[in-house]
């Protein structure tokens, strides 16, 4: 369905991120920026962790969802909000819709983890199951939109969502204004696009990096190729980073990024364990990817001040020990 992947409008401006910050302030947490002397010593640089695992819903996703939902006109809310998501965005839309007093429908693959479906239902949204491939998701989403007359809030290819995600970096640079670089994980590119626009709006000299698993390196390869590479099958433990860049996020990242840094899954697990053990924070694999990138590319950051967006902490505790056991640090 072309209408789902086409950009609904132009890239958001820095002023859109400022407006988003004001819009979501009554609803979203200002998350802490934490530090660790022990990890600084290991990394050889000064790290500032923006803890979006402590955001409502356990991930940055609530920022973008909240900004999009509260940007809608009353009559749009009344039509119902529709999205597609196998993860944190679905729960975030469900929560934002309930705060706005609206109704949401989430199109989710039938193999979505039960814990995530439970979160979506707990916020009062309806779930419509589809097959776990992009074509089925798009087809089912189009069908729901046609049947309900609802409005779509795409997980990342939406300027309101991107602007909302950028508010995390406004806060990060408010706490640590002298950063030399900022690193965020990249999947569809919504978080990283917002991060880049926010950082460069405050300071054009900051270097913005993406961090991406080797097994889902479409963003890395797309930026080098100068065009979006799509249709690959992702193979990584980072369940939040398996999407492909969108038509809206690709040009934003092409304009702003210094580079995308690749890490393998063993490096992600090691970084995740470091954050759990040394910082006492529960982070999901995707959330540890920026630290993994710093540790894997130490020479690029030696002695510098680096901000890391810890994207989320939604992980099944029953699976964690197996993960740590299978990939010892």
């Amino acid at each position: 369905m072309n209408n789902l992947s086409a950009p609904p409008s132009l890239a958001p401006l820095f002023t859109d991120i400022l407006a988003a910050a004001a819009r979501i302030a009554p609803h979203a947490h200002t998350t802490p920026v934490l530090r660790s002397r022990a990890i600084d010593a290991l990394a050889g640089c000064e790290l500032h962790f923006k803890c979006e695992n402590l955001q409502r819903g356990g991930a940055f996703k609530f920022r973008g969802a909240c900004n999009a939902v509260f940007s809608l006109a009353e009559d749009e809310v009344a039509r119902g909000i529709v999205t597609q998501s196998s993860g944190n965005h679905g729960g975030a839309i469900a929560l934002a819709a309930s705060l706005r007093g609206g109704r949401a429908t989430v199109v989710a693959p039938h193999n979505t983890p039960k814990i995530k479906l439970a979160a979506i239902r707990a916020y009062g949204a309806e779930i419509v199951a589809c097959e776990p491939d992009q074509a089925s998701r798009d087809a089912m989403t189009a069908q729901v939109l046609a049947q309900t007359g609802g409005v779509l809030v795409h997980p990342f290819n939406d300027p309101r969502v991107i602007a909302g995600q950028g508010t995390a970096t406004l806060e990060l640079l408010g706490s640590a204004p002298d950063l030399d670089a900022v690193i965020a994980p990249v999947s569809g590119g919504g978080l990283l696009s917002g991060t880049a626009i926010a950082a460069h709006g405050l300071n054009p000299a900051i270097e913005v990096f993406g961090a991406e698993p080797e097994g889902a390196r479409d963003a890395h390869d797309s930026l080098r190729a100068g065009q979006r590479i799509t249709g690959r099958k992702a193979d990584t433990i980072c369940d939040g980073l398996r999407a492909e860049l969108g038509t809206l996020t690709f040009p934003i990242l092409s304009e702003h990024l210094r580079d995308i840094l690749l890490v393998d899954d063993a490096q992600v697990v090691a970084a995740m364990r470091l954050i759990w053990e040394r910082m006492k924070l529960v982070v999901e694999p995707s959330g540890a990817v920026p630290l993994a990138a710093v540790l894997a590319h130490r020479e690029r950051f030696a002695g510098r001040r680096v901000g890391l967006v810890v994207s989320g902490g939604n992980v099944d505790l029953d699976l964690v020990a197996d993960l740590f056991a299978s990939k010892p640090v």
Copy 2:
């Protein structure tokens, strides 16, 4: 050894806690006070979590150790600092001594977890092994003191340590001034004594509660009996809460406490899992005891504003899944 259990001086005053806050400010973290709407809904009250798991060394213990070590005269530091500890206090003293440029010796039972011994050594302290009972600890500590001429900093029966631990509650009430009650875990009683003196110094109307595992209920029973009950064998997963009240802490708690609330280990594991899952924080069993107490004694706190001291986050990740698996929520 009487000299190890006798009070080295009177209970600290509220002004000693204010002085401690200024003394440790260059070294200790001001830890965040975090909230969770989901846990509030489960508990039926408004909870404010003071996150000492995010303190240096992963526990509140650094506050008391830092205040004691930086209270010493230069010639005392030169003699060397001696303590006895099977846990977080040993690491905290080692860290504080290294920051002061001094030398520390930690008397530790030979069955102390390797991870805690490694932390003590990493901060440059010497470890002297003893048998895992209080008589052996006291005898070996006295021997080390006699041989080295060092100065003792007891883990809890020391007014400088108690004053340091109280600084966490100064910060908690600075963030949340309208609390009706504060709950901290109780073991030797240093943290809870400091908590009580700080809370009542700021607001005499605040109710201060201890929270204690059923399997180590000496503080609960001592306060009811009107005298210290000693010599029992503790049986609880809360490895930080197995000590007995000291001669200095018992009268402080007798004066200040509203009550001590008991919880069983299954309730502790359930509360711990809630904090990990809903708040994305790594807490050790001892650190989850105050939340377990709220959930087990819901009627006492219904609709009230309650501060909880999350005491620490030092837990072996390899053991966690087993813990959660054996005690499902």
